[in-house]
């Protein structure tokens, strides 16, 4: 017998039995969990023999004896904030921390809450939407999330509701070897609008495996930001499902700077005519960090537009992967789909893998992709140095310019400015100089 997938589900089986025995929740949810756990066991722990996991080395993660989450206290000062009025939900080790959270007055029937609490108080708002979106059926950690999620956030806006203030969702992992499966559910009914900022932070060697489901009704508008800034030892294996109805617009910004291994799988279904999505990804990695985006955008209806713009900046022995699929269904005519992957290598040992894929089953479409990987332009560096700018500062300026191009797509000013500072700090660059 060959060494097949290790039976990693073994420690999960008793854990799952314990977990569900202590949950009090609607039968429909318990059934979802059992089905998902069965799916996880059937899929097994991913191996590098599987194409989708070929470059993702989980061996360091597999040696850890990960524990279920425990309660912990966190110093509020270590949590990220956004300037200006926000709705804020904080989760420590995946559990809602009401003392650190506040939700401002909301329009009628708008819901921004802990998912666990909302499931008790408004099950009719949750059950019809939870785990209903297609995509990532083969993703073991998405299944594991549905089996094990304890809490998370729900944003449910009724038809036409516009929430101006950013909805700031902070997930903090305290020290310890834990596995966390936070869940996010965003449902925007027709013409509703929201701006969501999800921040993953932590101090421990946790496995953070969140699953976000973003469901956009006709004409809905969502600005969604995910900033992964976890501890250097952390593992992040996230999944995002998006479904968009007619003429809706989703703008996703995915920023990854933390963790030793960070991968996000993203499946977008443009399920209504004229839906558009913009996916904007940036990975900053150094030392031995590994950053990975697996993206699939499916155009199921005509006149959809999608744009994938992914960049990485890699130093040391860091590696990045971008695997991006544009899938155009038969009948999805007048689709306009673009994809670019640009990678900047700051060291000879850094590696970027880019795997653009197109499957186009309609004949009247515009699809394009481009991928570049390279070092800093020596001519540009010399030009700056020839004006007196020291070499290190010249290189930092060029890296900042490369990455900031993606950050400039973020319309939420306090967040954009904070990320620009984060970027400059990592490059030891004084951006206030100009």
């Amino acid at each position: 017998m060959t060494a097949a997938a290790p039976l990693f589900s073994d420690p999960y089986r008793p854990a799952f039995a314990d977990f569900v025995a202590n949950r009090r929740e609607p039968d429909a949810i318990a059934r979802l969990r059992r089905e998902a756990f069965d799916r996880f066991e059937a899929l097994g722990w991913p191996t590098r023999q599987q194409e989708a996991w070929r470059l993702t080395d989980l061996s360091a993660l597999q040696t850890l004896a990960l524990q279920p989450p425990a309660d912990a206290l966190v110093d509020a000062g270590t949590l990220p904030t956004l300037d200006g009025p926000t709705h804020r939900l904080v989760f420590v080790n995946g559990r809602f921390a009401p003392g650190l959270s506040h939700v401002r007055e909301l329009p009628d029937r708008a819901l921004i809450a802990s998912l666990g609490q909302a499931l008790m108080t408004h099950p009719e708002r949750i059950e019809p939407h939870l785990d209903r979106l297609p995509g990532l059926e083969q993703h073991p950690f998405a299944a594991l999330n549905t089996a094990f999620w304890e809490d998370g956030a729900v944003v449910h806006l009724p038809r036409g509701t516009v929430i101006e203030e950013p909805i700031h969702l902070v997930f903090y992992a305290a020290a310890g070897d834990m596995r966390l499966h936070p869940r996010l559910l965003v449902v925007l009914e027709d013409a509703a609008q929201a701006t969501v900022v999800v921040e993953y932070r932590g101090a421990g060697r946790a496995l953070n495996a969140p699953l976000a489901e973003l469901d956009l009704g006709a004409g809905a508008l969502l600005h969604y930001h995910q900033i992964q800034e976890e501890a250097p030892q952390a593992f992040h294996l996230g999944a995002i499902r998006v479904r968009q109805d007619r003429a809706s617009e989703a703008n996703l910004h995915l920023i990854s700077v933390g963790g030793q291994l960070a991968r996000t799988d993203l499946a977008v279904l443009l399920d209504g005519e004229g839906a558009s999505c913009s996916l904007n990804g940036l990975t900053l990695a150094r030392d031995q960090q590994y950053g990975d985006y697996h993206v699939r955008v499916e155009h199921a209806q005509p006149r959809g537009t999608s744009e994938q713009r992914f960049k990485s900046v890699l130093d040391g022995k860091a590696r990045s992967v971008f695997d991006g699929m544009i899938y155009v269904c038969p009948g999805a005519q007048k689709t306009d789909a673009r994809q670019t992957s640009r990678n900047l290598l700051l060291s000879r040992q850094a590696q970027a893998h880019s795997n653009p894929r197109l499957e186009i089953l309609a004949d009247d479409v515009k699809c394009g992709h481009g991928s570049t990987t390279g070092f800093l332009d020596p001519d540009a560096e010399f030009y700056l140095r020839a004006r007196g700018i020291p070499a290190a500062q010249a290189r930092a300026l060029l890296v900042h310019a490369f990455a900031n191009d993606n950050l400039n797509q973020i319309r939420l000013t306090p967040l954009r400015e904070r990320l620009a500072r984060l970027l400059a700090d990592r490059l030891a660059l004084d951006i206030t100089e100009g």
Binding site: A386, G388, A391, Q393, A401
Partner: protein, 256 residues
Amino acid sequence: MLEIRNLHVTVEGREILNGIDLTIHPGETHAIMGPNGSGKSTLANVIAGREGYVVTEGEIRFDGKNLLEMDPETRACEGLFLAFQYPVEIPGVANLYFLKAAVNATRKYRGESSVDAMDFWDLVHERMELVKMDESMLKRSVNEGFSGGEKKRNEVFQMAVLQPRFAVLDETDSGLDIDALKVVADGVNALRNSERGFLVITHYQRLLDYIVPDHVHVLFNGRIVRSGGKELALELEEQGYALYNEEPGRARRAAA
């Protein structure tokens, strides 16, 4: 202020300059003319410190200091400026930010504090007028999407802001129409004074109608084969470089 002695330079193992001697005093403007491939741009790049140029023999001194031991940024901070033949586009770095970073780098090198924001703004505006540059160019990324003329004007603008003590203009006239050429030349002439030296490198005599040099040198096959006053440029314009091309022996005798 600039002394070049017996300079030999190879690029990828090929000798491009083989024994250049040139002395430029404060307040002087020298022109170097020569056909394509004579080594003009190599000389400019070696002075500025670009990588890939190997000095196998000889030296360059700038105010008595060994220039070849300095990295490019130190040369710039010491007061040396190269106006690039091909200015580089730098997407994402705004012109104004870039200029301020450059000014402050030089000030830091001299032990001075960062430039006052208002003083800097005044200086920039004054110098912009010198080269008839539009204010919108300050906010644009360095040279990105600039026309050939705008790029060259931006070089002279940078020079006007940085106020170097010695400037090398590498084919600043190439790709310019006559109006742009006049603007660029006016900008350069406005900076000429008794302290500042210039080395103007050009293929054509045309630029020297507007930036009138004190000395003209002919560079051919990596050597200065002839030196003279400004009238030498006119002579070259009439006779071309064929003289040197066909009879290198005669050219060397002429230089001796």
